[in-house]
């Protein structure tokens, strides 16, 4: 639990974790502290200091910008202070570049130093860091008078994410953020500390970073060179890398990462899911064998480690602060980043104030595409797959009252012929459906219409306990077809894949999702028979956009000369 005090000096109110440090600080300046009050909640103390400073009207802004902690020049030469400051600096070196709750500081120090036995001393050192502006302290949740202005300082969660609950720690009613709760409770009474990274003296020297480069295709090489040009010359801080599915975008960015690492700076590579983090960290380890690499995800053992190259889920960025010169955001338009604006804020906060950002996606939303067209966002396009074959174009098939036919077990000729052909060419099929409930309907239809195939069909959904094992069976070829919701639109790759989307006019299948789904097919250069079919009773914008963008990318690939010669006829 965090004990704080609020005091006044020269009619200004300040907030302190350890009043004896501040007493010393003001004594050196010939001032006396007055009107002490102690608190056991950071939020309460913060509000009190703010109110006394009469910044209550501008409460919303001052809560985040202004700072009721006095600041000090680091030129003090008094022994006692220097001594204390040295100790605080060594603490600052460990905590630098992180944004942590009080509980997290304790657990980090537990991992590093085997715990910090003297909590009073820890508070004293933290207060020195605050006084020398190497750290900032905010309440976990900022709670001004009107509830709509409440805000979680860690994830930016607003009123709808916050919950008022009686809190046993501060003994009052406390506001708790539900949005970032999986990273530990952020609440009014707990402190959220932002530690500035400790800068090494002078300019960072160039390092020699061993780099096992991989051979690039001509398309990859062009994209990679364009990215390097952006890194070295452009004034733009954001770069959009528009790479089609299966193009090998990771390899394209390796030279960029290498360049930044060589400058002695740090890189964060955020990716959407834990399994991708694991896979990616293995690949990066091979590419940069001598670099300290940290993989961050739920249940990772490296959470409190130091390194130069960080790979992690976007959620882990909540714990990092002003640390990275380059942040690479993989699948920047997709879940979870699309669903949670707090995550992109976290990624921004993890980057250094002048840091650069690469947005990596196969399906930039129309708003980004417009910004690119207007020249407001720099973009690099990677239109061809690594094997030089074009993307398979989806075939749109209109089926009138499809689900009624499914329920009645009546034939659906285009779907029947898709399945029959898929079996003939010895493929495997992913059958996408809009909702979990449709799985049973489709399975019953398959049982009646395709009894032979039915024995090798299974269905998965987001909350299925057997999801992993079903997907594994499909990967190993023990299942011939897998009925799935949109959860498998990314990541699952089997070489002999065919795809059908049933009910492609359902709103869950927007353009981006259909492009990803179509991108499951034709990943292997050996098997070219894979087909993509969209079955729908209506023609929707999503389907049109998918077709339009896939065709556009194929055209770009042809005009760039990236495709193999024998195709295209």
């Amino acid at each position: 639990m965090l004990q704080l005090a609020v005091y006044e000096v020269k009619d200004r109110s300040f907030l302190t974790l350890s009043s004896d440090v501040d007493e010393y600080f003001w004594m050196l300046r010939g001032q006396r502290m007055r009107r002490f009050r102690t608190y056991s909640s950071v939020g309460q103390a913060w509000l009190e200091a703010e109110k006394r400073n009469d910044s209550f009207v501008a409460g919303k802004l001052s809560g985040l910008l202004g700072h009721p902690v006095p600041s000090m020049q680091s030129t003090d030469q008094i022994d006692g202070w220097t001594n204390m400051k040295q100790k605080a600096d060594s603490l600052g070196r460990i905590l630098g570049g992180r944004s942590l709750l009080w509980e997290e500081i304790c657990s980090l120090l537990q991992g590093r130093w085997g715990g910090f036995t003297d909590e009073k001393e820890l508070r004293r050192l933290l207060q020195v860091l605050l006084l020398t502006r190497q750290a900032r302290l905010l309440p976990g949740v900022y709670t001004p008078g009107p509830a709509v202005h409440r805000k979680c300082n860690r994830c930016g969660g607003g009123a709808e994410d916050l919950e008022v609950t009686p809190c046993a720690r501060c003994g009052r009613f406390c506001v708790l953020c539900d949005r970032c709760i999986l990273l530990g409770k952020s609440r009014t009474c707990s402190g959220f500390f932002l530690f500035e990274p400790q800068k090494p003296f002078g300019t960072p020297d160039k390092k020699n970073v061993p780099f096992a480069s991989v051979p690039l295709t001509s398309a990859q090489r062009d994209a990679s060179e364009a990215s390097l040009r952006w890194l070295d010359q452009s004034g733009d801080r954001d770069l959009l890398v528009w790479a089609v599915t299966g193009s090998g975008k990771t390899e394209v960015l390796l030279p960029v990462v290498h360049r930044v690492l060589e400058r002695g700076e740090k890189v964060f590579w955020s990716s959407p899911r834990t399994d991708v983090v694991r896979e990616l960290s293995g690949r990066l380890k091979r590419a940069f064998p001598a670099t300290r690499l940290v993989a961050l995800h739920k249940g990772s053992s490296q959470i409190w480690e130091e390194g130069d190259l960080f790979v992690g889920t976007a959620h882990q960025a909540f714990r990092l602060y002003h640390r990275f010169q380059l942040v690479i955001v993989d699948e920047a338009d997709a879940y979870p980043l699309s669903a949670d604006t707090g995550l992109s804020l976290a990624l921004k906060r993890a980057a250094a104030p002048e840091g650069m950002r690469v947005l990596l996606t196969a399906t930039p939303p129309p708003s980004w595409q417009r910004r690119v067209q207007k020249g407001r966002l720099e973009a690099v396009t990677l239109p061809a797959r690594y094997h030089g074959y074009p993307l398979p174009e989806p075939h749109l098939r209109r089926v009138w009252r499809m689900w009624r036919k499914v329920d009645a077990g009546r034939p659906i000729p285009p779907l029947d012929s898709f399945l029959i052909r898929m079996e003939e060419v010895d493929g495997q099929a992913l059958l996408f459906i809009p909702g979990v409930r449709d799985a049973d309907r489709l399975q019953r239809w398959m049982e009646r219409r395709h009894p032979r195939l039915f024995r090798r069909v299974a269905s998965v959904s987001g909350k299925d306990a057997e999801r992993a094992s079903q997907v594994k069976a499909f990967r190993e070829g023990r299942l011939q077809a897998l009925i799935t919701t949109t959860i498998l639109e990314r990541g699952v790759t089997v070489p002999r894949c065919h795809v059908a989307v049933l009910g492609a006019d359902h709103p869950v299948f927007d353009g981006a999702s259909l492009i990803q789904i179509a991108g499951r097919v034709g990943r292997s250069p050996e098997y070219r028979q894979g087909r993509v079919f969209f079955f729908a009773s209506e023609n929707t914008e999503g389907q049109r956009r998918a077709l339009r963008e896939i065709r556009k990318m194929n055209r770009l690939a042809v005009s760039g000369g990236y495709l193999k010669k024998e195709v295209g006829s």
């Binding site: 009686p166 809190c167 046993a168 708790l176 709760i181 987001g462 909350k463 306990a465």
Partner: protein
Amino acid sequence: MKKGWDQLFPPPPSCRLCSTPVSPGLGSGIWDRICFSCRKGLPLIAPPYCRRCSRPLGERKEEDLCSGCRRSPPDPLDMNRSVLRYTAFPKELIRLYKYRGRERLAPTIAELMAEVLLRQGWRGDVITFVPIHPDRLRERGFNQAERLAKGIARLVRLPLRPVLERIRPTSPQSLRSRRERLVALRGAFRLAPPPRRIRLSNRTVIIVDDVYTTGATMVECARVLKEGGAKGVLSLTFAR
């Protein structure tokens, strides 16, 4: 922009446990406010179950006691009811609620429990909960059982009284074997001192907790309550 739109045309309410939209009718019960796929993961304890400890029974319908309850002598706890079996999804919910502190789940879980209590037709006089040690309370920030009891008490309109008190910190029960649990809890609870003490004689108390595994905690609480004069002690848990 989006927000204003949502004000005019509110999106369908979402499932109480996940973000899937559901469309319950006006005044529909809690189960209709949970989406199809979440419901699939919540295995309700349905009728052939032990009438004392609520353990699901196999086929034998003529006997309504489980093997454990038939062997053991009657203990201070008169009856236990649990809403769900403690399988993967309920386990995950409890983990989120209790250890991660997602306090938002409390009203939903309480509603599921209150429904069972009403269906059971128990005539209780007082609702109470399993206390946790003050040190643990400060560490966790809330008592998970208290929150549930509060929600249930409001729904079934019974008074909530913090009758019990934990006087000895015990290490988590979940790390112990069955026999160790029974021994470890001896003397861990007592009746709360006067300002919170109420008359128990001739009253039936319902104790609320999140998980019932061996029942050791509940039996110990019941023993304390019976010694304090309670007429009957019933227990209600979310999962077992």
